[in-house]
């Protein structure tokens, strides 16, 4: 439809409000309380415009543009004098109590309130009374609180409470004393609290980790990057100054993480700055272990000539680095640095996804699902942003139903919530020991993995009676299955979420059967399998056997092992890892942080972290995403692993004059070598890319107030850093001045929009796709006409064993990431490792909460935590926490009281 803004016609989309239409049309209209993910409530009154009855109406009616839907032919005045005056006045009102502390405020320079103040033209203060002051609260190590800056837009509570489901941030008091905080000081409990820093339009909630080494946005060097802390692959912008990574903020991706990040992703970056970084090549056993690159390469060329060369790839290293390792050691000698169990399960997932009979669900698909079944996956702890997406599915389904009931537009947030009350869309959350999303689920089941799988197969049978029924099923399970099946049958686009946290292949197969049974009649269901690491899928697609398979090989002795970015002690039980190293005569490790594996290395090579590297990763859904180097580390020896591996390949092949493969050459080689990766190079902005011959600058432009690059040393500009090889990006503010391709924007900025909210200027419409959006590179291809092959092999019901327990990992949302645990702020929030037992089992063993028990095989004693709804015969042990052991997950262990 056509709308007229200041007498000019614009195309607008039905169902949107006038504010969205204005922003989509590129018009600068200030706002606060509205947010594309939160909708409209009409509180701040900032987006006022005039609406005119017709062309002759000069008077008009002042309305809040966020609270009026677009109508065909509607005439609105944004530049109309009284509307402008009112908007300026709203800012003046807000400013009556807002402190004049921009120079010392962390938000300064990327502040929506600053931007909007300038936009309205308010500049002169007429209020000359005392300002209101508040007490600030301690909200934990992640978020800083400075309430005096609050302009009462209510976004924080609407995000934290309504959107993310947190219940420990609220609004208190009334009139101009309204207060946003906790009922008392304390750590914010939601693992999505970091988004407050971006949702807040000013400096009330700010990133406390950034405060430790504060830098203004305009002084950062930034690059588009991808989060490395779980398999979701949220898009991030990482910023550096003076060789330290300063912060991570959300980088909008319509299909993945939208406007938000989880706290592990946002705050888990500090490992890049760790004192524990490997900064120099080391050859152990020498008088001087730190060696030059020349000495290193000399040593390596000797080691690489060994016959029994094996390479251990990594689920957290890039596709390029893994591929370079594979090419170096040869496909037959390339292993995945994961356990055999994990390798088996990921292979199974790859197999079902490559079938193509199920669509792989993005987070957006999950958010838009009208029924979600979480089958066995502890999604809150293993893929937090997916849990947030599941929550949105439950909320949005209820909202859509309510909106339809009274024909309310989707943006009318408060009215829809009023109608919705406590209704939720269908969610069945089936887990071993419960999850915070249980409280939004219609069906909650806590069961052991085999029984979870049986429930899944029973659902599949209810959906399609050609599938086998459960033998010896109890009536309660069947009833639950019927309830779930009925909800799925009524849904139009359900999503089945599963993954590895049950360490059980039957669960994965059952999830497939449910989705496939739904697609028997209509192609409507999609599936999401959560994997352990950021590039687990990329590694799995390379079809390498697990590191444990090395033992099968006849000549698994005196090996020279090349270990890529991988602490084997986090993936294999200690005894297995020890056994592996005892068979190696030489260990060459490439990694960024010292760990138990690098301790075993004779040769240790400093690898770049994500922030210092280019690379590609494949997320859980098969989406290939490319991340770009934020900065070149001061320590000149730190390089991307694939660089080192390329050099080794040259050294091994004795090609003294050979040049290493560039990133795109490497990817091309990978695509030829392994057709499964066909097209991955499309996820990357070509290194040869330029606009009018200019690079995309990683730094904000000259007039931003930016100081010299090395202002800590010298205020004259130094010669800019040069990357080895080509890159689309430059390391300075010089380069293309216009808008870069949104998918690869190093940061979001637009004239008058310094804060992250400038992302709207890169979108086709607020909250929509980017302008000039490049389609995602999806490695799994839907084959709509292909008939699925069902699994049908249903496990027996779980029976607890005598004196033996099934051991399963218990992950933690903030704590289980290897790299994120090196971040001081997150480390301070880690829970104590423990063993979770059922009440009956605890009684059987004669232990209570806090008593120590020992698990065999294993070495450390751990405190007991009794769980009321955990099944008998199974124990959950904290996994991934620093210092915790790895068990043979999914296997049987013995337990004894300490």
């Amino acid at each position: 439809m056509t709308i007229y803004i200041d007498n000019k016609p614009y195309e607008a989309k039905a169902g949107k409000n006038l504010l969205e239409a204005c922003l989509a049309a590129g018009i600068n209209l200030p706002y606060f309380c509205w947010h594309p993910s939160l909708g409209s409530v009409g509180a701040c009154r900032q987006c006022a415009v005039k609406v005119f009855k017709d062309e002759k109406d000069t008077q008009g009616r002042l309305v809040m543009s966020c609270m009026e839907g677009v109508r065909d032919g509607v005439r609105i005045g944004v530049e109309e004098a009284t509307a402008k005056a009112f908007r300026e006045q709203v800012i003046e009102w807000m400013m009556t109590n807002h402190p004049h502390d921009c120079p010392v405020c962390d938000e300064g320079g990327s502040c929506h309130l600053q931007d909007m103040t300038v936009m309205t033209g308010h500049d002169y203060r007429r209020y000359h009374y005392k300002k209101r002051t508040y007490k600030n609260q301690y909200l934990g190590p992640l978020i800083n609180h400075e309430m005096n800056r609050c302009i009462q837009c209510y976004r924080c509570v609407r995000y934290y409470h309504d959107y993310a489901g947190g219940d420990d941030l609220n609004v208190f008091a009334a009139h101009n004393h309204v207060y946003f905080g906790r009922d008392k000081d304390g750590v914010l409990q939601s693992p999505f609290s970091g988004n407050l820093a971006e949702v807040c339009p000013t400096g009330v909630f700010t990133d406390k980790t950034l405060k430790e080494h504060y830098t203004r946005k305009w002084d950062l060097t930034m690059a588009p990057s991808v989060c490395t802390h779980c398999s979701v692959g949220c898009n991030i912008t990482a910023g550096e100054r003076y060789g330290k990574l300063r912060c991570v903020v959300n980088r909008y991706n319509e299909e993945v993480n939208g406007y938000f990040l989880c706290d592990r992703g946002r705050f888990g970056y500090e490992f890049v700055n760790s004192e524990n970084r490997v900064t120099q090549p080391l050859i152990r056993g020498r008088m001087s272990e730190a060696v030059s690159e020349e000495e290193l390469m000399h040593e390596l060329s000797v080691l690489l000539s060994q016959q029994k060369l094996v390479g251990i790839g990594s689920a957290r290293a890039s596709l390029e680095s893994n591929f370079a390792l594979r090419q170096l050691v040869g496909a037959g000698n390339f292993y995945a640095g994961i356990s055999e169990t994990e390798a088996y399960l990921t292979r199974l997932i790859v197999q079902v996804m490559q079938e193509g009979t199920l669509h792989s669900a993005s987070l957006k698909d999950i958010e838009q699902a009208d029924a979600v079944i979480v089958l066995g996956e502890d999604v809150w702890n293993t893929a937090p942003m997916m849990a947030l997406a599941v929550r949105q599915a439950a909320m949005k389904t209820a909202a859509n139903n309510a909106a339809a009931q009274l024909s309310l537009p989707a943006w009318h947030d408060a009215a829809i919530k009023e109608l919705v009350q406590t209704d939720k869309g269908f969610l069945a959350n089936i887990t071993v020991a419960g999850s915070p999303i249980d409280n939004i689920a219609q069906v909650t089941v806590h069961a052991v993995p085999d029984d979870i799988a049986r429930l899944g197969f029973a659902v599949a049978h209810e959906l399609s009676n050609t599938l086998p029924a459960l033998a010896n099923a109890d009536e309660k399970l069947l009833q639950t299955a019927r309830q779930i099946a009925a909800a799925l049958q009524q849904s139009k686009h359900p999503v089945i979420v599963s993954g590895l946290s049950c360490v059980n292949s039957a669960v994965i197969r059952a999830a497939f059967d449910i989705a496939a049974a739904l697609n028997n009649t209509h192609w409507k269901a999609s599936v999401a399998y959560v994997l352990p690491e950021c590039n687990s899928m990329g590694l799995a697609l390379m079809q390498a056997p697990s590191a444990e398979r090395i033992f099968d090989s006849s000549n698994a002795n005196d090996m020279t092992a090349l270990i890529l970015e991988n602490d084997l002690y986090r993936y294999l039980p200690q005894a297995t890892a020890d056994a592996f190293f005892s068979r190696c005569s030489n260990v060459i490790a490439l990694d960024s942080i010292h760990n138990n594996t690098t301790e075993k290395a004779q040769v240790l090579i400093p690898a770049a972290t994500f922030a210092e590297a280019d690379g590609s990763m494949v997320n859980y859904e098969g989406r290939t995403q490319h991340y770009y180097k934020v900065f070149i580390p001061k320590e000149g020896h730190i390089k991307e692993s694939f660089h080192w591996l390329n050099s080794m390949r040259i050294a091994k092949n004795n090609r003294s004059n050979g040049h290493g493969l560039s990133l795109d050459e490497l990817l091309h080689e990978a695509e030829i070598e392994m057709p499964v990766f066909e097209g991955v190079h499309d996820a990357m902005l070509s290194p040869h890319y330029s606009i009018h011959g200019e690079h995309i600058p990683r730094e904000p432009h000259r007039y931003s107030g930016r100081t010299a690059m090395y202002a800590n040393l010298n205020v004259s500009e130094q010669k800019p850093l040069q990357e080895e090889g080509e890159s689309a990006f430059g390391f300075t503010m010089e380069g293309f001045k216009g808008q870069p391709p949104a998918d690869a924007a190093p940061f979001f900025w637009s004239p008058g929009w310094n804060s992250g909210q400038s992302v709207t200027k890169y979108q086709q419409e607020p909250g929509g796709a980017f302008k000039g959006h490049i389609p995602a590179v999806q490695l799994f291809h839907d084959k709509v006409d292909k008939a699925p092959v069902f699994f049908k092999d249903i496990p027996e019901a779980f029976v607890a064993r005598k004196q033996k327990w099934l051991v399963l990992p218990q992950y933690h949302v903030l704590a289980s990431g290897e790299l994120s645990s090196y971040t001081k702020a997150l480390a301070s929030l880690l829970p104590e490792a423990c063993v979770v037992l059922s009440e009956t089992d605890a009684a059987l063993l004669g232990v209570r909460d806090g008593d120590k028990i020992r698990v065999h095989p294993g070495t450390t004693a751990l405190p007991v935590k009794v769980h009321l709804s955990l099944a008998n015969g199974v124990v959950l042990i904290s996994a991934g926490l620093p210092g915790t052991e790895v068990y043979n997950w999914g296997d049987w262990v013995k337990i004894e009281k300490e």
Binding site: A43, R45, A174, H175, N176, V178, L406, A414
Partner: protein
């Protein structure tokens, strides 16, 4: 002249209110019997609509028409709610209190009728916290009505059921606004809601709801008993019925009287309230509570009905007026009101939350002799920018009504405060503007 005064006929100041038996003996609950036995809900709605009963809470909207937007029939969402707004907190207003304390069964009967008309399932009395006596009486009356079968399951064998609960607020002016009241009743913050959707379709807990004022509801039994025409004839003017008019300020006999709608302000002030106290002259009057525009002695012959007061430049509001005499400082008077409104702002929308305290501080600075002509201009600006439509609800626009009219009629007083650097009137010192 003796007028009929149906609403207060059984209220005697020196006597306990009628209990259920006594109320029945005076003809009470006959309207409920008649309605549920002889009338359809639609007929009750029609009777009230025909009577031209307008909401006595201040807005003056036709009650029957308001009801007609509630979805009826078998596919209407349930439960539906009928809520009595008894959160009488408008400064200077105490008319509902008389009805609540004087004849609680009359209110209950009106509520049952209204609930029947919209086929509500649950009803609430949302009572001002400070009305302790009324709370006890209503609680007792509800219990009596349950015992007599006027509330509960299958009322008078009609097949229709209604529950009733008393809810006492915590003393926020904001809860007088019907959508904020609904939020408060749900246990949420008392912030108003955007309309549409209106409470008739999405009210309490998102279900169809009607919120009516105490006095409005008390009229309904009489309309059902005596008919729409009788009700219309009670009035002097087009707006039907009687009205409870109140007078406060320095008059000889402050009080509240039930009089025909359209009684003149002069009759009310001079005959019923006995005129000004000796030695005082009237300077202005807020005709319908604190959030209405000042009228002046020149308007004394204005008939007190919705339309006539509007023509005179104010609103009938609650019909309870505050008289300002010539020994009272208009700036201090208005400051007192703005202090109240600023404190009672819910804090939801920016203009009200930040604008009212600014206004209050300016008025205080004028009183303290620190105000300037620029401050008076700033007050003028706020009266325009805090107008209807600019703010989320009617609280701030209501607050601006006495201010804008004070600036219109008493500008010289404002200017004297600025030029003489202080208040020319003798009155107690005004304390700080903190709350």
């Amino acid at each position: 002249m003796i007028y009929e005064r149906p609403l207060t006929q059984h209220i005697h100041i020196n006597r306990q209110p009628l209990n259920l038996k006594e109320y029945e003996a005076k003809g009470g609950y006959a309207a409920v019997r008649k309605a549920v036995k002889e009338m359809t809900p639609q007929e009750v709605q029609k009777a009230v609509q025909d009577s031209n009963l307008k909401g006595r809470g201040g807005a003056g909207f036709n009650t029957g028409i308001k009801w007609s937007f509630v979805p009826m029939g078998s596919d209407a969402p349930h439960p539906k709610y009928l809520i009595c707004n008894a959160d009488e907190m408008e400064p200077g207003t105490f008319k509902d209190r008389l009805l609540l304390e004087g004849n609680p069964h009359q209110l209950l009967e009106g509520m049952i009728l209204a609930a029947y008309a919209i086929q509500a399932d649950i009803s609430y009395v949302f009572l001002r916290w400070a009305y302790k006596k009324a709370a006890a009486l209503i609680k007792q009356s509800i219990a009596e009505a349950y015992a007599a079968g006027y509330l509960g399951q299958n009322i008078l064998n009609s097949g229709w059921s209604l529950d009733m609960h008393l809810h006492t607020g915590v003393g926020r002016y904001m809860c007088g606004e019907e959508t904020a009241l609904l939020n408060a009743l749900e246990g949420k913050r008392a912030t108003p809601r955007a309309k549409p959707p209106f409470p008739q379709v999405s009210g309490l807990f998102g279900k169809p709801s009607i919120v009516n004022n105490v006095e409005t509801l008390c009229c309904i039994p009489h309309i059902i008993n005596n008919g729409a025409d009788w009700f219309k004839k009670l009035s002097f003017t087009e707006d039907a019925g009687t009205k409870l008019y109140g007078v406060s300020g320095k008059v000889k006999r402050p009080g509240v009287w039930e009089l025909p709608m359209g009684t003149t302000m002069r009759e009310l002030l001079e005959e019923h309230a006995g005129g000004m106290r000796n030695g005082l002259m009237m300077r202005g009057v807020l005709p319908g509570g604190a959030s209405t525009d000042f009228l002046t002695p020149a308007h004394l012959d204005t008939r007190l009905d919705y339309q006539s007061v509007a023509i005179a430049g104010s609103r009938l509001g609650t019909g309870t007026m505050i008289v300002m005499d010539d020994a009272t400082c208009p700036v201090g008077f208005v400051h007192n009101l703005q202090h109240f409104f600023a404190q009672e702002s819910c804090g939801w929308c920016t203009p009200c939350r930040e604008g009212l305290p600014w206004v209050e501080k300016i008025l205080l600075s004028l009183e303290h002799g620190e105000g300037t002509q620029a401050d008076i201009d700033m007050l003028q600006m706020h009266t325009q920018l805090l107008g209807p439509g600019n703010t989320f609800c009617a609280l701030a626009p209501g607050a601006m009504e006495p201010l804008q009219s004070a600036l219109k009629y008493f500008m010289e007083d404002f200017e004297r405060h600025a030029h003489e650097k202080g208040c020319p009137y003798v009155h107690e010192a005004v304390a700080s503007s903190e709350w």
